[in-house]
Amino acid sequence: MAYDVVGTRPVRPDGTEKVTGRAVYGADVQLPGLLHGKVLRSPHAHARIKSIDLAPALAIPGVYAAVTAADMPKVQAEGVANLGESSIEKQYMQNMILAGEKALFHGHAIAAVAAVSPHVAEEAVKAIRVEYEVLTPVIDVLEAMKEDAPLLHEGLITKSLGKPTGKVSNVAAHMQHARGDVEAAFAASDVVVEREFRTAMVHQGYIEPQTATAQVGLDGAVTIWTSTQGAFGVRAQVAEILDLPLGKIKVVPCEIGGGFGGKIQVYMEPLAVLLSRKANRPVKLTMSRAEVFQATGPTSGSVIRAKVGATRDGVITALQAQLYYEAGAFPGSPVGAGTGVIFAPYKAENVLIDGYDVVVNRPRTSAYRAPGGTNAAFASEQVVDEVARQLGMDPIEFRLKNAVRPGDQATYGPKFGAIGLVEMLQAVKESEHYNSPLTGPNRGRGVASGFWFNGGGPSSSHISFNHDGTVNLAEGSTDIGGSRASMAMIVAEELGLPYDQVKPYVADTDSVGYTDVTGGSRTTYATGLACYNAAQEAKRQLCERAARTWECSPEEVEFMPGKGVVSKSDAGKHLTVAQVAREMNRTGGPIHAVGTVNARGQAPGFAVHIADVEIDPETGKTTILRYTAFQDVGRAIHPSYVEGQIQGGSAQGIGWALNEEYVYGSDGTLRNANLLDYRIPTALDLPMIETVLIEVPNPNHPYGVKGVGEVCIVPPAGAVANAICQATGQRFTELPMNPERVCMALLKAGSR
């Protein structure tokens, strides 16, 4: 099918505002009488809070209000809130915002104040007196699982396979995927490789720190301006945490400076509401970079054991893994997703995968781009690589031989639909990059596959026509990387309008129907479908109006993109969209079309990456020489932003592979809460990231769209590790593979 707009690369509608500095991000919000808030944070990783004295802070001139957990409403019943990509109990939600009886990690919020300026608020926070009883922290996932480990939550009962075990421990949950008989299959295998891997806790690293501004009226109406991946999610969480009526809260999503999953969970919003209510003034709270690292959701560090068996002729016989993920201070790591991702690209009769969600004295983890996936693929893709090597098979050939195809049952249960893994592996095999020579000492090439589920769910959009034939498009998804452009393109395609005659905007929670978060690779798919549906309804209304003008029945006309409404009986008779719009008040009033969807037919994403590396044997530094990312994208609506997602995800994965990690002291304090010591890739650390878009359409979508944003971060760590192994002859089983670790390994092996 040929498209006029889909597949082109127009300039994004919000572009000019963003390159001229006029776009309003969360921290740019200014209001009359605005106060500034600051948060007091725990200097200890684990401590009982014996007392908090706010009086010295409140005595400082210019301080208006101070709050602690005592200002939170009492939790009545046990409740679970849905956060889009994760769920968490209500009491835990409250205590994540303000510590209850205990501080559970370095940086845990203890109290917050509002004052006339950020500086006065900072002075006030320093004046608060807190008495702590310091407790022994546990920050390592395996240590936390030991019988005698310090307990974070005295009431946390381990659940196994969904049922409470009655046992109190730091293990919140155990889950499993099982089929066949792995033991027998391993015994019958010609090759078996088993290894243990460790990955470090890493942060999403968005450049814009969390910020929120709230205003509470004396009638109880709450308005929140914030940078978020989902305004409706913020509304739901604030209502839950503070026991407020949902309908009293309006959330205005500002422009958002990156999120990658980390801006779904609220942190500052409930504090801003509490402070605003007490001070009777609007209050803004913005985190410092140190606070972002200490107290917002990173993703889990993990320990993973992975085992793969195969026959002599390269057929996988059995897949087994145990995944232990740090949840942080409250349950809810992405280990469930990790168990699904770990062997998803492979077909096997015998599978046994166990996952464990473990609380430790670190910040509670939040979603991070394909949550749990990168950890899992770092382990599985290296073991798969090693099996292929032992068999003397080309790693892509081995993957092709064992690749899942449409109709195959996934390791995590369901049957796959229209997936394009085989097409992609073929494309890799035939690619110029894979067939190019890589010569020279200390160089290696690695490949890895990746999988991600991709999301669907509810979204809304509204189209209203202007008298000049242009349309306004309201949608509920915050635009984090160019989605306004995709939405406008879909509507322009359907209505046969030039792209720039569709004006998209991201609406607040009072102004558009419910829409799930911008996350789970769901936005272009699900909100795109809502826009598509709104456009179909708009076409129906346009036809109705034309029929009224021609005094015929709506069945006698039809919509043709480019032409507008045409008469079925008289081919020459037509009305353009602009002509119908101009007359709308005379033909029945304003034309306004609503599109909603609860999207179900999303297709999972697969990616295969090739990394060429060179190791400096003196320093242990890894340089990425060349990097190509292949991905099945279904259909690229705006190819530039699809490439951008893939390039960004690859770069994050490379940073995760080579440098990024949370460094803790033995006392459980975070030692590198800044962007110098927590080192994300710079422009100098990366080559151009080449992308190859494979389009195997999703049959459940009119254009074939699949989610693209997340799967691209799954393969990089595995691909880079496999490349380093080829370059050095050493298997690196721990992330990050930073210069120190590589150098030490080379020294130990005597190869330096």
Partner: protein, 163 residues
């Protein structure tokens, strides 16, 4: 509260006076007092470059400059890049190359890129990467940013030849 100090400076070509506390950074005054919120704060300690501005033509992190140091200097921010009702070629190139996703680092990248092209009108890819290594972007992997800067340089040089 500490006494405020009067500072006379020039911002985006316009003479300007403001009052500030000695402890306030230039970034804070630009954003909170002068409402020039195009300059962004990403880290507050000079590691991310989101707050890049030009002082007398040199690119600096405005979070590391005290506002009082602006006295008698000439400051340029992202708001001053488009001149005569026209976007700067770098701004055009960033849009056409889709060199921004969330856009929070974009003002800093534009200002730093302008400083680079002012001093080196025809940089190589490596020179662009080195010069921009003080500006962090988490969305793009830098690919499209580097291409946009190289393209803008080429276009500006071509325009110069034509002129």
């Amino acid at each position: 509260m500490p006494k405020k100090i009067a500072v006379a400076t020039k911002i985006n070509g316009q003479g300007m006076e403001f009052l500030c506390e000695p402890r306030q950074s230039l970034l804070e005054v630009l954003r909170d007092e002068l409402k020039l919120t195009g300059t962004k704060e990403g880290c507050g300690n000079g590691n991310c470059g989101a707050c890049s501005v030009l002082i007398d033509g040199r690119v600096v992190n405005s979070c590391l400059v005290l506002a009082v140091e602006a006295e008698g200097r000439e400051i340029r921010t992202v708001e001053g890049m488009a001149e005569g009702g026209k976007l700067h070629p770098l701004q055009v190139a960033f849009l056409e190359h889709a060199a921004l996703q969330c856009g929070i680092c974009t003002p800093g990248f534009l200002v730093a890129s302008k400083a680079l092209l002012d001093e080196n009108p025809a940089p190589t890819e490596e020179e662009v990467r080195l010069f921009l290594a003080g500006n962090l972007c988490r969305c793009t992997g830098y690919d499209k940013i580097v291409r946009a800067v190289l393209d803008a340089a080429q276009r500006m040089n071509a325009e110069e030849v034509e002129a």
